[in-house]
Structure formats: C-alpha cells, structure tokens
Symmetry: C2
Subunit: 552 residues, 2 copies
C-alpha cells in the first residue's frame, strides 16, 4: 500500500483555496500511484477557525468541501480533517473529525477525543470529545485514525487527560496509525513531537504516519515536519519545515524501517525560518505585498528589516529614518548603512517639526511641567503617525519591531513604537535578537558587499531608545542577560516569586520585574499580534487580567 | 436558621483586599445573628483570574485566604469560593470549589461540575469538572452546595452538558440550595437568571439562595442581583444591581414565601448603570481618579463625557476640543455647551498646526497624491497623540468613545480615535447610544440649568466624523437603524448571510456589512477593552481569526 502525506499551507475560511490545493494534491498523489492521501486536522477550513465555528454557514461550507473531496475519491482514499455536527442533542454540537473517503463514499469517521484547551488552544469551546474508537478497514489493512492531541497521552501519562484513544483501538489490532495534526511551531517543539510519535510507535509496535500543517495563520505558525516512523521507532522520514510538501511512502518499506532521516534543528535557524514564514503569510493571506517600518539604527529594527527583506523581497520593503534632536549621529548612519546594505528604499523624515508643533500646542497646559516620559512618548507617537500615514497612502503593512523583553516590561509607547499590523520580534527576547542578528549577518548577502547587512555598531552599542539626552535601556531596566532569564522563568515556565528567589535571583529584582510585567498588561492588550516562536508567547496563549492586583 | 448572602465587589488577585472585605462582611453577619454567610464564586481571588491560576503562588495565596476565613468561622459558617488542587494526578490539576467552613474546620467542599467554556468563559482551560455530589449537613439542615453554571442545566435540557449536579443530590433530600455565582451582566441577563433559579426551585421544591458578584473587572461587569427564591418559586428577594449588599434571611420566612421583590429591569437604565460601574471600577481598581477624552460635538463623545462625569465626578473629567479645518462651527459650540453644562474642565486645541507639520514633512513622499483616508487618519492620530500627552503628563486615563456599530464595521482610526484605556460605548450600538443620550438628558442635572447636559443638536444632527469637507457617516455606511439590525443578528445571534437574507435584509447590503465586520478584525485586535453590556461584546467573548478569508 502506498500512502501519501500532504503537508499544506491552509488559509482559515478560504474554502475554495483550501479545496483547490487539496484537489491538486490528490491528483499528484494519484499520479504517484498512492492508495491513500492524508491531509491535516481541520484542513477544509484551516486552523484555528475560532468562533467562525459558531456559524451554520461555516459548517455548511466545510461539509461542501468534504462532499467535493468525496467525489474526487474514486480511485484513491482521501483522509481529511473537518468539523462535523454532533447528531445527538447532548454535549457540544460539533466534533473535530477525520473523514475517510473512498470511492465516493464515507468509509469511516473518527472524532477527536483529546481537546487541547490551554495556551493558544480553545477546542473544548467548540467540540465534544469522542467516545467511540474504531479502526477503518481499507484494502485489507486496519487503520487507526487519530487527530493531533489524541496521540499526546501515551499510556495515559498526561495528567490533562483520562483516556488514551489509541489504547481503545488495540483490541482490533490495527496495522498502522494515521494522525492528522495542526501542531503549532515553537523552537522546542519538533524534538518533542518526534519523541511523542516514537513513544506511540514503541507502545503499539506499528508504523505511524503523521501529517501536519505548514504556514502561518496570523500569530500561529505551523512548521510542518510531518513524520513517518517505522516500527523500529526510527524516523523513516521527516518532511522539511516551513514549506508545503507531498510525499508518497510504501507501507512495506516503512514496515521494514532501518532508515533515519531527521531535519536539522538549530534554534536560531528555526526561529529565523518561522519568522520569515510568519511575515510572508501575514502579508500573503491578507493580500498585501509591501512592508514599511521605522529604522532607528538599533538592533531590533535592523533585524526586523532584514527579515522583512528576506521574506518579501527588498523591493517590497520601505523604511523611514525618523531622527529627533536626541538621536545620535551614529544611529542615523547605522540605519543608512543597513538600508544601503539591503538595497531597500528609505526616507529621512526628521520629527522635530511635528514634535515642536505638539510642544507649542500644549505650551499652556504643560506650563512649568518638567520634561518626562510624556515628551518621550510624543516622539514615539509622531513616528507612529508618520509610518501609518505612509502605510495608508501606499498600501504597506507596518511591521512592529518591539522585542519580547520590552513587550514584557512595558518598555515601549502605546500608539507609538507599539504600532504595527504584526509584531515580528514580540516573542524573541533581546538576548535572542542578538543571536538572530549574528545569524542574519552570516546568512544574508549585502548588495554593497559588506560582510553582513547589519552594521557592527548596531549590534555592539548599548541599547537605547534615544528619547532623551544620553538615555540607555540600562537606566531603567536590569541587564538583558539577567532580565531575560527572569522573564523566561516567569513567562514560559510560570515560576512565581518564591521559586525565582529559590533559583538564586535577587528578591528585589524579581519583585521589580514581575511588577513591571503585570502592570503593563494594558499595553499588551492593545499590541499587534505576535509571531509565536516560543512555548509561551504574548497574545491568545497568555490570558491575564488587566485590572488584576497581583504581584504588582 | 439565618442565612446571610454577601454580594461583594472583589478585585482579581487582591487577596488582602478581598479577605478584609469578606472578614468585615462576616462580622456584620455575625452581628445580625446569621448562622451562615455565603460569598460568590472564586471570591478569594476574584473572577475571572485567568492564567494567574497557572501559578502555584496564586493558588497558595488562595489557600491562605481560606485558612484565614476558617479561623474566622468560630461561631458562624462561611461558604467561600476558591480554586483547590485536584489531589489525583489524572485530569486538570484544579477544581473550582465552594468550601464550607465552620468552627475552624472544613465541613465540606463541593467542586463545580459544569464549566462554562464559551463567550468570555474559559473554565475548562483550568478546571477539572466535579464528579462527586454530596449535601452538607449543618445545624440539622442538609444543604445542596452548587457553583454558578451548575444550576444552568435544569433537567439536563442544556445541550452543552450531560450532567445535572443538583439532580445527583436529590436522594439525600436537601433542605435548601446555596449557589455561589460570578455571573456577568448583560442587559438581558437578569430576567434569564431569575427564570433559571425559579426553574430549579420548581424542580426540587426547596428554597434557593444565590450569591453573585457585583462590580467590574476591566471589561466584565457583574450586576449583583443576588436572589432568594421561595419554594413557591416567587422571588423572596432580589438584591440591588451594581452595588455591594449584605442581607440576612430567615430560612423559615423564606420557606413560607408569599413575597415577591424584584428589581426593575429597564434596558437603558441597566446599560447606563453598568457603564458607570465599569468606568468607576476600571479607574478604582487601577488606582486612577481622573479621566480625559476628546469632545467632538458628536453624540458618542457627549454620552461618554456625561457617563464619565457621573461615574468619577465632574472635577475628575477633563476634555479636549480639537477642531480641524473640517470641523463645523456648530460642533465646537456643541462641545463647549456640553462642557459648560457638565461643569468639566476643557481645553481648546486646534489641530491645524500639527496637521500642517505632518503635511509638510510628507510633502515629497505624497507628491501628486490625492487627499484620501490617509489625511483623515492623520487628523485622528494627532488628536490621539494630544490626548495621550495630557494623559501621560497629568495621570488621566483616556476614555475611548467609539460605539459598537463603528467598531463592528471598522469606522475608526487605529491609534487615533481608537485610542483609550477602556472603551465605554464599544458594546453599545449607535441606535442605543441615542437611547442613552435621551436617558442621560432626563436624569442628569446641568450646572448651567439647561434641560439636560447634551445639546439637542448633538443628538439631532446627522452623524459625521468631520475629517473631510461635508463628510457624513451615511456616505460610507448604511443607515444606522438598518446597520444595527444586521450587526445584531450577525454578532449577537450568529446568523450567517443565508439566514440574514431570509430575514428580509437586502443581499448586497448583507454581504457588504459582513465583509466590513470581518476585514476589520485587525483593528479590533488592537482596540481598548470594551465594557461588556450585551450578550456578545467585542473582546475575549468573540474570538475571530485575523487573516481569515471568510465572508470577506
């Protein structure tokens, strides 16, 4: 038996686009003599469809796509993910299902049992968990169908769940496992995923075929990495990350095993590739081509600009250099150098005239008030307004350049440097931004022939917002190497003040950092969606009260 | 037996504040010879605590509050809501629990079984559902303890659930039902709540005591309206809305019944009172006193200003009048009249100089480009920057004045008139804003002696953003009376295009409106939190993909 796995980049709600893509994959698989093709979880509608699932019309369109695929399944079986109605009145009225289509008929439907409801996931909001588990017989083979999380409770050892779907099918002695996934990327996830698939294979002693999504849906990025694991628990194949892929496998060859083919897993390269995918798909799926951003001469905007140029093409990226009276000369020079190295269009727009106009307008109100964060914010907001004006006039999307460390402690101006359609670095700590910069300089050509596009001084100078004379980030923040460690423990690992102090961090520092994180929830609430590359990014995956008074 | 219900305004994560409030209520109940006092759901930590629940430290602090209340329960039973650890390793590691404390000991703990996971609710994200149901015996009475949603599946007729917790206790023949709730307000909710409590009482033939929260947690507003319903299914008492209240009831009197005491339920008054609560608590819980907003002469900012003055006191509200060259003279006059009528501080800050500075700065880039929405947005963003500058300098919170109709169709400028810490009218359709204006003019005194603070012409003139010459909302939007009906059906009732056309709305209008709603998700993603007064507000209760391509 020949089994095709299709790792596709779906688009939420784009039924026609998703269907055409799947039909083309079916045709390709047919030409390669596949007996069966397997797509990802909820592939007809894309993942996550969120509250679109509450609309009858949306479910009707999902059904229509399944019908079209059923018609296309004359001589090849098609396994597709789709929401289906729960026929009984008790429980949620949808299932997250895998439909096995063959010869114009539905050979079987398996519902998902384990519904992730944590981090970015809300599946129990929509779906009823499966209670029945039965293999599907196709051309003499018994297939254990499963959906994503269903394989993540091996031997019932995951405390979140009380049932192990594949255990329930073991009496029927299945020949292999098919898994339809929509498993989002984070830079630690690919290894975990392989370990989980291997654990399943070891438990049941049969091969597993695992089809994931690739591509980004706003903040959530899918890395692909679809898997075939042989009964010897070796990775027979791992598909490439961040690209569409269709491959056909011979079941007997997979059975034999003895092959190990993993993709390389370098953290910085993974983050880099994920961010390119995130930028590309945000623009592509919204129907935009051109990006704009502000270039300060600092490292965050430099890294964002290089990523944008790589993702969209240098011709599609425009930058504004917007110095104020507090900008150092070297900042403007560093920004200019970067723009030249990338070969991107730039405009030099000093903000002094606008800043002066605001100062004059508020002269009476601000009489005898000292210069403070207000004037710093006015500068940032003038820049935001200039960027948005260019964006509005010429159809660019503004890229936000805030990094995760700043976003965590609220070191940014709402409606100023926090503007943007999508946050490129909002899930990348400052210390990781340096790693990205080094990686970009190693892997990106400069049109000027410079060793790398990002000037050395952007990387080496002490970080500064340059919103008042002589300002440095270190005036108001702990050193980034310490700050980032505290933030990682608090945000990714959910360690509280007691645990952080026990780890050796200084108590006053811990209190200060946690307080900064918590009192700035109101800013993050209005931030751009953040391309998620870690196991805990800001946004839907981290839900915090705004008026909360806790560690604040 | 004398039973006290405490309807309190908790503050998420403010353990010390919540505990002191509860201890004071215990003391008051004790003085009124109560045998038992009942607080709301998750009262130790406030509702919804969201991802704070993932921190061990947070749960430890909840436990500490329960310990303190246990100590205070020497001669009075205390029933309190708190998260408790699930002692077994299988399933989520928390329960949403009601602890029955008496004489320094825990007499019983009831877990919540029905975990709302829809709209603004995420309870299955954190909690394991209860499986055991047992009454608590106290002073010879058997008490059926239940938490909020547990009573919302009367006779198992709610399709969301498959168990009816109170049914499970009927074998023990309980004497009365205690329910600890955190049931958020919407203008239709109070009647529904009463009907549900009555349905339970009818089913079991015993009285029910129902304690709700009052007060707002950012966007989510609790209206109180705690209930006592007699076995005759009459409302023995309904506590007032939107205020703290402690009352002690004699069980025998409640048993006898024959009393019906409902609060009046006028939609516009309810919305009005909810918005005042929302404003007051957003400021109070963040530790702020003063509000600022822009006054355009239009009805939305007028209504917001009056609400702010009522919620915070006229002395705490400051407004900016920021006319452009496109503002009509009557707009400035209407704004001035309103400020005078309310007796609030105002500043007149024409935006022309800043606008001209932006125009000049972008002259080269915008060469030969026609005036379009870009220039409109610059005006809105200059205003946003002025408001935020005042807010930053003097410690105001900026109130957003966008209404629900505008927010739905994206008729507003991101980082411009969409700025603000909290959106006051973002869940109030334009047609409802008019109803609020009329209500405010009837119920609010003007310091100038005018008939009502809002000038007649702000109410009667055709709505306009005044961002280009002669502009009217009706140039780009359908009439609000039609638009709002389509939006209500789409947003609140989740009706799709087919259903809307079947209702008699014109097909091209339906498509146009739904498209406007869907393509503007990116703006709402960055909007201020919206005070929720309807059954479906923008924010956590409505989760939509941004790059989705559906009805768009």
């Amino acid at each position: 038996m020949r089994i095709a796995l299709a790792q596709l980049n779906y688009h939420i709600g784009n039924f026609e686009g998703n269907l055409q893509k799947m039909l083309a994959a079916v045709e390709q698989a047919r030409q390669q003599k596949a007996d069966l093709i397997c797509f990802g979880e909820l592939s007809v509608c894309g993942y996550p469809p969120r509250d679109f699932l509450e609309f009858d019309d949306f479910i009707r369109q999902c059904n229509a796509s399944v019908e079209a695929l059923k018609t296309a399944s004359r001589d090849i079986a098609i396994v597709v993910g789709t929401p289906v109605r729960n026929p009984v009145a008790a429980g949620k009225d949808l299932y997250n299902a895998a439909c096995f289509l063959y010869e114009g008929a539905v050979l079987g439907v398996q519902h998902k049992a384990l519904l992730p409801t944590y981090d970015i996931f809300d599946e129990y909001r929509y779906f009823e968990p499966a209670t029945a588990f039965r293999t599907i017989v196709f051309k003499g083979k018994k297939i254990a169908l499963s959906i994503c999380e269903d394989i993540w409770n091996v031997g019932n050892e995951n405390p979140l769940y009380t049932i192990c779907p594949l255990d329930e099918m073991q009496d029927e002695q299945p020949d292999f496992i098919l898994n339809l996934s929509a498993s989002p990327f984070n830079y630690q996830h690919a290894s975990t995923r392989i370990a989980v698939v291997q654990a399943n294979v070891k438990r049941y002693g049969i091969p597993m075929f695992y089809a994931n999504h690739t591509g980004a849906q706003t903040d959530i990025i899918f890395d692909g990495g679809s898997l075939v694991v042989s009964p010897d628990a070796q990775v027979f194949d791992e598909m490439p990350y961040f690209e569409e892929c269709l491959r056909v496998y011979d079941l007997e060859e997979v059975q034999r095993g003895g092959r190990s083919q993993e993709q390389p897993k370098d953290k910085t390269k993974l983050i880099h590739d994920a961010l390119l995918t995130g930028i590309r798909d945000y623009f592509g799926k919204l129907g935009f081509k051109k990006a704009i951003l502000g270039l300060s001469g600092g490292i965050d905007s430099a890294v964002t600009a290089v990523l944008a140029a790589k993702a969209l093409g240098a011709a599609n990226v425009r930058v504004l250099l917007m110095p104020s009276q507090f900008s150092s000369e070297h900042s403007v020079n560093d920004a200019l150098t970067l723009a030249h190295n990338l070969g991107i269009q730039y405009d030099l727009l000093p903000i002094q005239p606008m800043y002066a106009a605001f100062e004059a307008a508020l002269k009476n109100q601000f009489w005898a008030q000292p210069f403070n964060v207000t004037e710093e914010n006015i500068q940032a907001r003038v820049r935001g307004t200039l960027l948005m004006a260019m964006s509005n006039k010429f159809g660019h999307i503004l890229l936000n350049t805030t990094n995760k460390s700043e976003m965590a402690v609220g070191y940014g101006t709402l409606y100023g440097d926090m503007c943007g359609g999508i946050s490129v670095l909002g899930d990348v700590y400052k210390t990781e931004v340096y790693e990205l910069a080094a990686y970009l300089n190693k892997t990106t050509l400069s049109v000027t022939g410079a060793a790398g596009p990002i000037p050395k001084s952007s990387i080496e100078k002490p970080p500064s917002a340059e919103l008042r004379p002589g300002q440095k980030d270190s005036d108001s923040l702990p050193p980034y190497d310490i700050l980032d460690k505290v933030l990682y423990q608090y945000i990714e690992c959910r360690q509280g003040p007691r645990e952080l102090v026990a780890m050796g961090f200084e108590e006053t520092l811990v209190k200060r950092v946690l307080r900064m994180v918590n009192i700035n929830e109101f800013k993050r609430e209005q931030a751009a969606p953040v391309l998620r590359v870690s196991s805990k990014g800001f946004g839907m995956g981290r839900r915090m009260p705004i008026v909360g008074k806790y560690l604040s």
